[in-house]
């Protein structure tokens, strides 16, 4: 019996590497510390009531961002491990199989479990506030989306300690990801981790489209909407057209691995190239999905900190919509080297280049928003200014890659690696950081220390260029991606060394950010934002107290222009003491609110169980999970008591505490 248990455990748990044991121990200790702490401070009930079952978009947004930071930590550790392995020729710090797992998890985590939740977090906290809505269209679904993402992310990360991590690259090209070459459970963790969270992403896409189209404040026509919701709309349109393809494609790969189907296998008539096409039909829009909201954030910030209207509003809107559409017509540029023929390659090279046009227009518009403005350099603006040169040069290498015959030389080399980190870190990560710093006071009611923030910014920037500029050179030297080591005679050492130093600087930059947040929490009382408008903002979110009350707006705003809050402030200034608000004119009335629900977290737990069962072929887990899922859905369907009204007195007293609606 004991022997049986032992042999099961050695298969079930990941063993053999001291690094992994170390991680196991630290994960275990952290978990114990959390449980003990929560119990000691009697916080379980609070956690359940206020957070785990909440349908408040602001809290859900905060949970998304928190998860994204955790995942950024894990993905970042993966990155540092890789850079350490590559610091010198013929290093044997990581075994090849371990290295292969690490680059796979790094990619998956950074895109799907860091960038996506960070983005959804920002959607959640800001879109309703910016469009003057009290919540998203479907609060219950929103909570479900978050918990599905969380269940998927946890399932994926579980492969670190149980069963073994996937090792087929972040897009898991078959035939390498098929049973024939990859019989372990890692690839199944990959499929189900992404599948579960991907369904959550799809629902978020639907949710925000409806929110933006149907829930804008009275008077806010589409063309009066701030640029961030516009970017969210374009991103969500791309989500609803691309994520179904991902869902279907992963389902097919799953059937290959689980049910012996032959979609992408080498035998039985399967066609691996079909997978590569399908996955990039999702994968390419995906990178635009994450970068478009960053464009929106930069537009907001550049206008606020230049104290000037956004230049070329309409151009910006059209540019984003064009990008959103074009992103679906370029997927084959990821495999010019597949030998599809000159016609196909020429077509996809052209569509790819076209994207440079609207993107370039956006850069000019940002520049001319600053032109004749009054620029100040708070941290959100620093990230924005850091982004422009970074993205312009990254875009340049992108155009180079789109020249199909030249791509034959760039493809799969470090040139490509440098390019996409260049645009994704320089565009997406810088953008989300800018957004987080910008909206932090609105979210938590206090400001962060600018000085530490500037240290973090400079470490990120210098580290970034040190890390990735040498990788362009390495690509031109012929170094290909995913190699675990290289020989001395290739002459790649110096560049790799510089690159690793840069990565370490970015690691330090992350620590600065953690310190900044800890420092901010500790000194939050001193740095409280009592005005609700710490940056002299322009849009509706700055017209309400910080942090926003749970019902967001005591009365719905009446919007008559772009930058309504800025206009309102101008009107009040000109009107002097007797000026009347044109923005908030109504009387306080009871507010209709959704009730919290435990069903989303339970449903996601069921998905987790079912996914785990699929990974290990434990049918009873699958049955339990799916039955649980069905029961939860029916329970929710039969419950018609899902909302309540906040009485006027409660709103009045809550508003009075921030000095509003006192009469």
């Amino acid at each position: 019996m004991w022997e049986k248990v032992k042999s099961f455990a050695s298969e079930f748990f990941v063993t053999g590497d001291p690094l992994i044991y170390g991680a196991d121990v630290s994960i275990g200790l952290t978990l114990i510390a959390v449980v003990v702490g929560m119990t000691y401070f009697k916080k379980w009930n609070w956690l359940w009531r206020e957070w785990l079952t909440t349908v408040d978009h602001k809290k859900i947004g905060i949970m998304y961002i928190l998860s994204a930071f955790l995942m950024l930590f894990r993905g970042g550790v993966d990155a540092l491990l890789m850079r350490t392995q590559l610091v010198m020729p013929e290093m044997s710090f990581l075994a090849p199989d371990h290295y292969n797992q690490i680059f796979t998890t790094h990619g998956v985590i950074m895109i799907l479990f860091m960038a996506m939740p960070f983005m959804f977090g920002l959607f959640n906290v800001m879109v309703p506030l910016q469009i003057g809505a009290r919540d998203v269209a479907f609060p219950f679904l929103n909570s479900l989306s978050f918990w599905l993402f969380f269940a998927g992310a946890m399932l994926f990360n579980l492969s670190f300690v149980i069963g073994g991590s996937p090792d087929a690259g972040w897009l898991a090209y078959p035939p390498y990801s098929e049973l024939m070459y990859n019989p372990g459970v890692g690839q199944d963790f990959y499929i189900w981790g992404i599948q579960i969270s991907g369904i959550g992403s799809l629902m978020t896409g639907i949710n925000f489209i409806v929110t933006i189209l149907k829930m804008r404040a009275p008077g806010m026509k589409l063309m009066r909407m701030p640029m961030f919701p516009w970017s969210v709309l374009s991103s969500c349109i791309a989500i609803i057209f691309s994520f179904p393809i991902l869902t279907a494609t992963l389902a097919l790969l799953f059937l290959d691995r689980y049910a012996g189907a032959h979609f992408f296998t080498l035998d039985g008539g399967g066609n691996p190239m079909m997978y590569i096409n399908l996955i990039w039909m999702w994968g390419h829009p995906e990178v635009y999905i994450i970068v478009l909201p960053a464009f929106g954030i930069f537009s907001e910030i550049v206008s606020t900190f230049s104290k000037k209207k956004l230049f070329g509003y309409k151009s910006m809107v059209y540019a984003m919509m064009i990008i959103s559409v074009l992103s679906f017509l370029v997927w084959a540029h990821h495999f010019f080297t597949m030998g599809s023929g000159a016609d196909v390659n020429a077509f996809f090279a052209l569509t790819t280049m076209l994207i440079a046009i609207p993107t370039g227009v956006k850069v000019f518009n940002w520049l001319f928003t600053m032109f004749r403005g009054k620029i100040t350099f708070e941290t959100p603006m620093l990230w924005t200014i850091g982004f422009i040169p970074c993205f312009v040069t990254g875009g340049l290498t992108g155009v180079l890659l789109s020249v199909a015959p030249a791509d034959f030389q760039f493809h799969n080399s470090y040139f490509l690696i440098a390019h996409f980190h260049h645009v994704i870190i320089g565009g997406v990560v810088f953008g989300y950081f800018a957004g987080l710093y910008y909206w932090w006071p609105k979210l938590f009611g206090f400001k962060l220390n600018e000085r530490i923030g500037k240290w973090a910014f400079w470490f990120w920037n210098i580290g970034f260029y040190l890390c990735f500029m040498p990788q362009y050179v390495l690509g031109l030297m012929g170094m290909t991606r995913r190699v675990v080591s290289y020989s001395w005679d290739k002459g790649w050492w110096e560049m790799n060394l510089v690159s690793t130093i840069g990565a370490a600087l970015m690691g330090i930059a992350f620590l600065f950010q953690v310190w900044q947040i800890a420092h901010g929490v500790k000194h939050s009382a001193a740095n409280r934002d009592t005005t609700g408008d710490p940056w002299n903002g322009r849009t509706l979110e700055w017209s309400i107290p910080s942090p926003a009350p749970y019902y967001n707006f005591a009365v719905l705003p009446q919007v008559s222009s772009q930058d309504e809050w800025w206009e309102e402030k101008q009107r009040m200034e000109q009107g002097g003491a007797k000026a009347q608000s044109q923005l908030y004119t109504g009387e306080l009335e009871p507010i209709h609110m959704p009730k919290n629900s435990a069903i989303p977290i339970l449903m996601s737990a069921c998905c987790f169980v079912a996914g785990f069962g699929f990974v290990f072929h434990w049918l009873w887990f699958v049955i339990a999970g799916i039955s649980g899922l069905a029961i939860c859905m029916l329970k929710h369907s039969f419950n018609h008591d899902t909302d309540y009204y906040i009485p006027v007195e409660e709103i009045r007293s809550s508003e009075a505490s921030t000095g509003r609606w006192k009469n």
């Binding site: 104290k307 209207k309 509003y313 227009v361 180079l400 030389q409 210098i462 995913r482």
Partner: protein
Amino acid sequence: MKVTKAIKRMAIVLAPVMLFLAAGCTDNMAVLDPKGPIAAQQRDLMLISTILCCIVVVPVLLLTAFIVWRYRDKEGRKAAYTPRWEHSFKLEAIWWGIPIIIITILAVITVRSTYALEPSKPLESAQKPLTVQVTSLNWKWLFQYPEQGIATVNELKIPKDVPIRFEITADSPMNSFWIPQLGGQMYAMSGMAMTLYLQADEAGEYWGSGANFTGTHFSSMYFDVESTTQADFEQWVKEVQDKSPALTSEGYKQLVLPSTEQKMTFSSFPKGLFEKTVTQYASASGHHHNMPLMEQEQEQENSTEQKQASHSGHSAEGHQ
């Protein structure tokens, strides 16, 4: 004030790094040091497109620095401040226009070069091309010279100034065949024989690699490439024919098993080995009489949608 200081500080940090990078750039840049016509044209294409992009990018970078500097908020600044200026048809027309012009020029260049440098297009040469059949195995490369009847592992010898017609397949996960100094890469896929023409203009030693991840020891898939005079090449072929062992079917089966290998040479290989390697994966997609759609596709290769479908069938037939 603070920002200027910070920029100066950054410049001080970055300057030596840039110098260091520039120094490192001069040697070892295989892609920028072509030894054959294909790689040379691809290098030129990279340079032309870089210069074209720089026409926009450099002014934008300068403009960014200028605007951020001039319009920073400080006491008593003289620069104009126009908080409501938000639209100018002329300006916007300019920056829709300029990228459109640049991209149009680049597009023309790209389309032309895409046809000119289509990998399966034979090179113009007085010499008859030499065929080398390339198979990606876990984790080594097998090269077969059907005209000479010899085979090698992880070692490629070619005569200079002679176009080489590579036929590339895989008996492993998908790989990518790449010799940076001779020209761009081509995927090695099971069930298909992809064609890639390359040529070396001078005698010398180069290297090639597997550029697409194939598993544990993927990083060991480098191979040596040596281009020699025609006479030396023939001499080498003769030596291999005389002195090396033969590659048997059994030997190939051993070779397919996952392992890393040193260089090997074989005086002969089983007849039709390459074709068999290709068709063992392609055969499953037979039954073309059921596929009117795909039949059409083979004729006109323009369509993108079902491209991959026609592929498998196409190359399989080509080798039956």
